[in-house]
Symmetry: C2
Subunit: 165 residues, 2 copies
Amino acid sequence: MTITVTRDEFRNAMAHLAAAVSILTTDGPGGRCGITLSAVCSVTDSPPTVLACVNRSSAMHDVFINNGRVALNVLGGDQAELARHFSGATNVAMDERFAWDIWESAGHVPVPVLRDAPVTLTGTLSGRTPMGSHSVLFVRVEEIHVRGDAGGLVYHNRDFHRLGS
Amino acid sequence: MTITVTRDEFRNAMAHLAAAVSILTTDGPGGRCGITLSAVCSVTDSPPTVLACVNRSSAMHDVFINNGRVALNVLGGDQAELARHFSGATNVAMDERFAWDIWESAGHVPVPVLRDAPVTLTGTLSGRTPMGSHSVLFVRVEEIHVRGDAGGLVYHNRDFHRLGS
């Protein structure tokens, strides 16, 4: 039991909270980028909205906001390596990641979506709630592409796990 | 590809977004209750904050807000039955669920926590963002209880799955 919660204690606790792994992407006047996120969830189906928590100290934070258009690429069980690239762990430059033949464009204002992700959603930022070091970005979903069930990619206990098929 | 996203299309897409399963509980002047949630995520470690999306049409929504004190009980791989009870699927009355010998109290203003959950966090509601049919409730975490790794309980493709040990 901890009365004063330290950063490490909180992180250790959150390691037990399993989470789907996604890559949030954008393109537009602010630039093109993508970041691996596990703090993503469904908010409401009326109107269809998801949220994603993004660190405000990341240079990408303002790119997402300035473009206002994003894609949420929900990763499949065989896409852990891609999650590592977009977490920055592999030091592959952003331009190189987007040069790989894994992308297509979707949305009436096109943003990059992963061709082989189980699900991709494109939409517009409809709100933002700052909370400490992060922003909660709300995405009003306008297009959905379900590519079948490749099984999910889940982050739990500081490691990737495959879920299902 | 869908240009106009219907409620069913959104729900079908979200079924592919794996999510940890938790029970959010509260006690206080507003009453005692608990609800199974999968739309929960870590927001920031400074200050330690998690969020949970709760349907505003649920009678429990206002109980959480009126009490202002909650516990997030992150369920383990063997607690799917409990998740069903607190989703209302089994029609067991709320008082009966809290009469089971599975609870203890935690927090300087006590709220019910699950004795055998891998992780429980207690805290204070620090903010709320209404979004369509739901509210995003922000919980400032004040106490953490990690009970070891029982493996995670994950909801994916409309079914429960065990993760890890």
